[in-house]
Symmetry: C2
Subunit: 119 residues, 2 copies
């Protein structure tokens, strides 16, 4: 079974090093050597992460023979954002319910306070 | 190494069946049996997917002994949306560049058209 595009993207993002690589690439394209530096990781380890990101279309490599710079391609992240945003009504519903519950509690608290004072 | 929260969430979302379960749960809570139905999947297979979603905090189970209804918890999806949205400037930059490139091409096309007519 071929994994669907969104699953491949999510799997690529399920790793803090790969997300850190993407964050680094927002500053501009750079070489694999530059990318490897802050991670204290071997070049093969970084290259493996890059291949996962490339397969998901999140990173593209330049075509220069000597220096194949890496750059971010944010198009799949736009899809991720759109997918997650489609659940906004669910998390907002929950906030609305929490707010309603809190107001109910506060109303009870007040009416209880009044009754206590009346005694 | 304990996987960070966002990695656990992305890994849970990297499967079309698990995303379909979440989509189903936006209609309201339901039993595992009801959830299994549209997927033509065995109950153990669905239960395994549910455990992955529960571990990521995307699904919560009710406490009734007989019937433990599943419900969606969209809070981790809000985090995913916020994370992906933080790259919006990158995908918008790219659209801006594409637009600028297109306008340049059209301008060249026009000036070329004028020169051709002058001949």
């Amino acid at each position: 079974m071929v994994a669907d595009h969104l699953s491949v993207t999510f799997a690529a993002l399920a790793d803090p090093t790969r997300r850190a690589i993407l964050a680094r690439l927002t500053a501009g394209e750079c070489s694999v050597t530059d990318l490897a530096e802050p991670f204290a990781m071997s070049m093969p380890a970084i290259s493996k992460h890059l291949r996962v990101l490339e397969r998901a279309g999140l990173v593209a490599r330049g075509r220069q023979a000597q220096w194949r710079p890496c750059r971010i391609n944010a198009a799949p992240l736009k899809e991720v954002a759109a997918w997650a945003e489609s659940y906004r009504h669910i998390w907002e519903q929950r906030l609305d319910r929490l707010e309603a519950h809190l107001q109910e509690l506060q109303a009870k608290e007040k009416s209880h306070g009044r009754k206590s004072r009346r005694k």
